[in-house]
Amino acid sequence: MTKQEKYNLAKWAMNHALENGAQQVSVSISNNRSSSVDVRNEKIDNLEQAIQSNLTIRLFVDKKYSVHSTNRMKKEDLARFIKEAIKGTRFLSEDEFRTLPDPELYYKGNGVDLKTLDAGFDRHDPQQKIDLAFQTEKEVFGKDDRIISVSASYYDGLSERLMVTSNGFEGDTSNSYYGLNAQVSVKGGDARPESYWSESAIFYDKLEKKGIGKKALERALKKIGQDKIASGEMPVIVENRQVSRLFSPVISALNGSAIQQKNSFLVDKKGEKVFSEKLTITDDPFIVSGRGSRLFDSEGLATKKRTVFGNGVLQNYYIDTYYGKKLNMEPTSGSTTNLVFETGDKNLEELIATVNRGILVTGFNGGNCNGTTGDFSYGIDGFLIENGELVQPVSEMNITGNMKELWANIGEFGNDVNESSSWLTPSVLFEGVDFSGM
């Protein structure tokens, strides 16, 4: 389908719902094309291609609300689907807070080009992509006697989404992505430590294509001899790519639904200093070619640059239209775009050098956080730091604590921002974390 045909279908579905009893309707159509190749032991292990389409309709029928999606896009199927959906919706209870957004808040066009699409997506040679996976594997294969298994993957994809609503929104977005990764297992005693490295990009030309296999191998070899050490309270440095694991419970706690359902450890904290004054985070949707950049959110609300935490003070929750009405707050969009962390001035090595005795966390293994209280406990692996140097790989240990205390006890942020994610996290040094080991 061309973009115009998709708009036509979306509007037809919207009108069909309006004609059959819905008062407000939003329809979105998404398409994804993706391909991947996995290489293992100098052979293609797996070659996949996919084309996917989906239509999602949000219905507001006599103050009752439901959402329905299908990948059967023929008009006759859709007509029946929508009618059934409206019929079912009528059996629900009324919910006075359900409406489409205020049209004033919609994105109305003329935004800057955020450059989230590689226009040459279809022009890259498929054989070249397969070769990339082979080259990545070759960086490792046979390079060390301790290697048990190496695999490397190349993947790419193109997603398109458009949306229309019955109170005047129309918009579409497209994103492309390319990725390359390597996974290595090595033999070290009884254990078979494994590690992984990956790079990704919005543009094919920007994708880092060299050194991924080598890095995965280095990381796996460094893990040989992993062991737990005695329990204790220590400073911990969390590597930049791993920080999101400790920050996502904070973002969950800022969500309108969690706030309104009292399922958050940050209820009624807006405007208060909740974390270390070293923590300043901005949600910036307008970074050119940022992984989370967008002009409007999933409801069509125009995005805005917002401070989430300013010197430890909670400044904004993530509130969509529904929970905004329930909480009597202005909607701010229900999800993050790009999170920009204010950074420090040391790289990871320099951060490690400041620690007398502590742990560098390079990976998590399970665990969870209680969203209501902020209590967490996670399995970790990484390295013991002594006198500013990594002296021993550690694993099979837990860190346990509370999110409010953890983020109040920031020692220092690194300057090594992880550019491969929409959360631009640097490495972080936390003071006084409880470890359980032997």
């Binding site: 299908t70 665990g367 080991g437």
Partner: protein, 507 residues
């Protein structure tokens, strides 16, 4: 031992869309009847037997060894309650066919969301690219494989109106509120799923399955002196509408309230290594993480599991028998036939303490030269099959729960979990404990909560020193993830003593 009826069937020309010219090798199939079941499934997916054979031929046109087609139509409905009202509903329809080609242990895969011949042939051509040889494929006769039926139901979810489901969701809310004055919020849900699958492969096997699923539960949020806590209860089965009863509502509501109440007094234990008593039921998460994943034969075939090369070795005490079972009646993890068209079975992973079998899919069973165990599963037609667990549990042992607890001087008793994980190569596994108790001098004392427990698979297995006679399957909403694919599973365990695990907590 069950015998499965295998019918030879031949395809009928009448099922073909008007006037299609058949290649010569299909002519011989005309004028022979297909079974009513096969016809039902072919109609459901709007295809004919000839089309299946055409697509398989195309999939093997570049010389692959084997190809299969996996058709699926899944309808999901969900009702949600918040702030006292059933005020949201979600539904989803997913339809398509996955086409896989194997060339040795190499896989080519593509799928199509439309089932026109052209669309399927296109996808088949993409998947065919994994091979490059001159080998030619001759279509096989179609062999219908009639699957077992491990989930008989009375009333299918697709025949149940929203109107009939809403009252149960409302009732669980009202019941939770009635049980305790501290309740401030309830979130309740009812999700049902009806999935039809049809499978056909280049060996001629044609089989099919209807897979119902229901999950029902509630999250209870309570407040006491400014402290807020929440917990939930849920059940999931391959059962029909007849399963929903007022007794079930009462049981779930009581459980949610009890589980939340205990958290107000719970604290964190002292961190470190200690004996862990795993309570009967959900503690099966230990088997799933510590043993189950590392027994999945794809990891072992690639040499990346800590259990690679350990088949036939003694890995645990004599009383340890660990099973992965796809045949439990109406169980969330059961399947009548796996997603590669194979019979499911009750598979002993560990028998009398000895490693007995890995968990196999087609590729790994051929690699190891063993019969498939019926563990080839996929999240949907969009994914390739992988060796996956079903219901994983341990048989009862010689001890009693009281024996086991009284045996521990200082340790923890855990029986309520939220999630777990494992590193296949290192064997390090974890599970997150929502609640449990300290054990002091052989007695349960202080409640504990929100801690991660970590151990090493082979060591933990060897460290199971006692096992009670109170085996229980946990019928919660367990979902297992691997390589980005989610499949429904369950787990179970009798009360068990693990001599030593690392327990998270305060220093």
């Amino acid at each position: 031992m069950k015998t499965n009826r295998r019918n030879f069937i031949k395809t009928s020309g009448a099922a073909v869309a008007g006037g299609m010219l058949l290649p010569p090798f299909l002519q011989s199939f005309q004028n022979v009847k297909i079974s009513a079941n096969v016809k039902y499934y072919l109609d459901q997916f709007e295809v004919s037997a000839e089309m299946l054979q055409r697509v398989i031929s195309e999939a093997l046109s570049k010389g692959g060894d084997y190809a299969d087609l996996f058709f699926e139509q899944k309808t999901t409905n969900s009702l949600g309650l918040e702030d006292g009202k059933v005020n949201r509903a979600y539904s989803n329809i997913d339809f398509g066919v996955g086409i896989r080609v194997l060339n040795g242990d190499q896989t080519g895969f593509a799928y199509s969301e439309t089932v026109t011949l052209d669309a399927m042939l296109n996808a088949a051509r993409m998947a065919a690219n994994i091979a490059e040889s001159k080998k030619e494929y001759q279509n096989s006769d179609i062999l219908e494989k009639v699957p077992s039926n491990y989930y008989k139901i009375s009333r299918k979810w697709e025949d149940v109106s929203v109107k009939d489901k809403v009252p149960f969701v409302q009732k669980i809310n009202d019941k939770v509120f009635s049980l305790d004055e501290k309740v401030i919020k309830v979130n309740a849900f009812l999700n049902d799923e009806s999935s039809y699958v049809m499978f056909y492969n280049s060996e001629g096997r044609l089989t099919y399955d209807y897979r119902p699923m229901i999950s029902f539960g509630a999250v209870c949020i309570m407040e006491k002196d400014g402290q807020v806590e929440n917990a939930y209860s849920a059940r999931s089965f391959r059962k029909g509408f007849e399963w929903l009863t007022d007794d079930l509502v009462d049981e779930l509501a009581r459980e949610a309230v009890d589980r939340t109440n205990i958290l107000f007094e719970a604290t964190k234990p002292k961190a470190g290594e200690m004996p862990v008593v795993m309570g009967a039921g959900g503690s099966g998460i230990l088997l799933h993480e510590a043993i189950g994943h590392t027994f999945e034969a794809d990891f072992n075939r690639k040499g990346t599991s800590i259990f690679s090369d350990k088949m036939g070795e003694k890995v645990a005490a004599d009383f340890v028998n660990i099973i992965d079972d796809g045949t439990l009646e109406n169980n969330r993890g059961s399947i009548n036939v796996d997603d590669e068209g194979n019979d499911v079975e009750k598979t002993y992973l560990v028998k009398d303490g000895v490693l007995n079998s890995y968990i196999h899919d087609r590729i790994s069973s051929q690699y190891y030269g063993v019969n498939p165990t019926g563990n080839g599963r996929r999240e949907s037609f969009r994914n390739i099959p992988l060796p996956r667990m079903r219901a994983t549990y341990m048989e009862p042992g010689p001890h009693t729960k009281d024996d086991i607890i009284s045996n521990v001087d200082y340790g923890v008793y855990v029986d309520n979990f939220s999630n777990g994980q494992v590193k296949i190569g290192a064997g390090d596994f974890t599970f997150f404990v929502k609640s449990g108790y300290l054990i002091e001098k052989g007695e349960l004392t202080q409640p504990i909560k929100d801690i991660n427990i970590i151990g090493n698979g082979p060591e933990a297995l060897a460290d199971i020193t006692m096992c009670a006679n109170d085996y229980l399957i946990d019928n919660g909403t367990w979902t297992c993830g691997k390589d980005g694919q989610s499949v429904p599973v369950t787990c179970g365990l009798p009360t068990v003593l693990v001599k030593k695990l690392t327990v998270g907590g305060s220093v």
